[in-house]
Symmetry: C2
Subunit: 437 residues, 2 copies
């Protein structure tokens, strides 16, 4: 029988899950691939624990370079994360003619272009289904399943930590800081949650999806990233009154002017399926010109869900390791010479609908002033919610949902609104997406 | 550049959509595949219309056998439907060494085993992404994306006509017959709707999914099929009061005793995403042992959504037409020698939770009698809804949700309940699924 020898770098959550799935489902995997996928070496800092996890059946080393240089290893599964050592290891594995499977979104978002160029030159596979949305086979859907389409946009809940926090904020009426503490206690958030709550992790994944949706290089440094740390409970509540949910979305769109590539809190109509994706779950909506909107939902993190994707990639490698380059799906889903260097639009140049919350002195004429500013800028109002002042207060909230306009036009309008004497403090602005067409 | 020459059988809805997508997205498709996919011949009964649709650029014939015998055709796209002529054509194409792409679920559910055996012998590809759930790439997800998993169950809304009807029944409070008429006027239902409303079309698709989920032959003739024609408005209403939606689900599960393969109206908790799939849309939930539950949503029919899947298959053929059999995904996702002849359980041997509605004379002791019958059969009650009799009536509805039990045990219990003197008419039984684990 055909054999595929795997070297695993890192036996942590994902590495441990990968080893467990490969072992438990070995018979089913061989029934499918006609190939035995053997873990022949594992690198981990904690040799004793790694020995325990693998039952002494696998060669364990604490030298990751021993694995990427091991002539008996056909494919390296890079599951250590980060983008310094992991980059060096992946490039070395490629140099040594080994195929690579990785779950590392940061590595690919930052150094994917260099890595794919190196892999192309050596004719090896670099597979990364686990890098986006964990166990959801979204890379395969974008590169293959929807390949007949001109992809128009992709929008996803692609960070479980922030979706868990937003779900708790809505369901329990709690503030961000309080839920973050709970999420940390439950293990849904890291001790330093910056990568998740500031949207950086989502931007890594979005960068990868934009590259394969449109056939363009990874452009992480040009992604707009806005997290959920400033999001207030009151806006979640007002959004709900208006029939919307607030989600941290990664959105990438192809427009005439360029590519939108942005992560930020977003109002979505509550009737959309994706608005009802709760807890730590992930979902990605893809709009193709032929197929229309499609949605992919599942666990975006965790040992075995992520391992499900890593092992699926190993199975693809098992089938295609000895195939020609033309017989494989190209790295970005587009042939090497056909990747277009599309410009990414700065956030001021994107088009969006908006949720605005203003605090105004309860005087006649305020609403007329505000709506005139918007009308002068051709910004149509879709809905308006004027709250009565609380007892003993003279200020009240006004919530406005606008139609689509250019972000810089919206920003200029907001600046004018904030300059009105009756307006108190800053205008809160949250972008809004219909996600229907 | 590499060329792939396609012959299309049938330029109806799907065939026309396929030609349109191949033409409109030709540049994007070649950017992806590095191959020009050319339609070189089309067979259709209506030659004049086919000439109009293809702008005179393609050889048109009314003899489908001319296409499958055309030495210049590399791959035949069978898009005529049915399972008599289409079977003959597909087998002839295979005999001639041509690859086949088909959207034909009936053909595969009934004759897939024979077709795959013939294709295996000739070493040609038979691809069928479009046969299940239209544009949703569920075949690729099951055979490849989730390949690392032992698939435990699959449950799907895989017929748009019935989902449209059920959505209208719920939202507008209408009876089945009234909505069917509306669906026929709108083109969502055929003049003879039997295939859709009796669950046969869903059973075709479910049969295909069970084969690739578990690695077993197509066993359509053993599928249990129950449509929505008998479903009453009142049960949709009671289900909603209890927090459930009624959907026509295709469900296949692997159990110790055998495979469950069944299509029937099903109560699903309203908080599940799949319970919120409305109108003519499709969705499939797949539970893998590693990944947990995942969901795939999109348009399950229509010209271009279905074409999206047909063309994706053609792109796979473009990559892999000259690959070895071992480099291709096997027909059922499992190697030819590894398909297991798993037994399909008769419906009496499946396990399910149940919704029961009984009509009872409003006398003391009825509920005690009913609950004793269930308790004696170890059927636990999860919820109970006892309705007050209407004015001037002496009969009232009792609704019971049970825990999971063997169907034949439930049926025996129902027979005993129906024999109680206070019970009026038959007990209505609808199966219930949690779809959570």
């Amino acid at each position: 029988m055909k054999q595929l020898n795997v070297g695993i770098l890192g036996l942590g959550t994902v590495g441990g899950g990968t080893y467990a799935v490969l072992t438990r489902n070995a018979a089913e995997i061989t029934r499918r691939t006609g190939c035995a996928i053997n873990v022949v070496q594992v690198a981990d800092r904690n040799i004793e624990q790694a020995k325990l996890m693998t039952g002494g059946k696998v060669d364990i080393t604490n030298d990751a370079f021993a694995v990427v240089n091991n002539p008996n290893v056909d494919v390296v599964a890079e599951l250590i994360g980060g983008y310094t050592l992991s980059k060096e290891l992946v490039l070395k594995a490629i140099e040594n003619g080994k195929h690579v499977v990785t779950a590392n979104k940061a590595l690919l978002a930052l150094h994917g272009n260099e890595i794919f160029t190196a892999a192309q030159a050596k004719g090896v596979i670099v597979a990364y289904e686990a890098a986006v949305a964990g166990g959801i086979p979204i890379i395969k859907a974008l590169r293959e399943g929807l390949g007949a389409n001109r992809i128009e946009w992709v929008a996803g809940i692609i960070n479980g930590t922030t979706n868990f926090i937003l779900t708790e904020m809505r369901e329990k009426g709690l503030a961000f800081a309080d839920v973050l503490g709970e999420a940390q206690r439950l293990g849904y958030a890291e001790a330093d949650p910056t990568f998740d709550v500031e949207g950086i992790d989502a931007a890594h994944k979005l960068t990868i999806m934009s590259a394969i949706a449109f056939g363009m290089p990874m452009k992480f440094e040009q992604a707009y990233t806005e997290g959920i740390t400033q999001l207030q409970q009151i806006d979640i509540k007002y959004a709900e009154e208006l029939g919307y949910r607030v989600k941290l979305l990664g959105i990438t769109k192809r427009t005439e002017a360029g590519v939108e590539l942005r992560v930020h809190p977003t109002l979505i109509p509550e009737k959309r399926l994706v608005a009802n994706v709760n807890g730590a779950m992930n979902a990605v909506v893809v709009k193709g010109d032929a197929v229309g909107p499609t949605l992919y939902y599942g666990a975006g993190a965790g040992a075995e869900p992520t391992a499900s994707a890593v092992v699926a990639d190993l199975m693809d490698v098992a089938r295609l390791s000895d195939a020609s380059v033309a017989q494989r799906v190209p790295y970005l889903g587009f042939q090497a010479g056909q990747v277009n260097d599309l410009p990414v639009l700065p956030i001021s140049e994107i088009n969006s609908a908006y949720y605005l919350r203003l605090r105004a002195n309860d005087k006649p004429g305020v609403l007329a002033d505000v709506t005139k500013i918007l009308a002068d800028r051709n910004i149509s109002i879709d809905a308006l919610l004027q709250k009565e002042p609380d007892d003993n207060e003279t200020e009240a909230d006004i919530v406005i949902l606008t139609h689509i306009t250019l972000e810089k036009n919206m920003n200029a309008g907001i600046a004018e609104i904030e300059a009105l004497p009756a307006i108190v403090g800053n205008v809160i602005k949250i972008r809004m997406e219909e996600l229907a067409k």
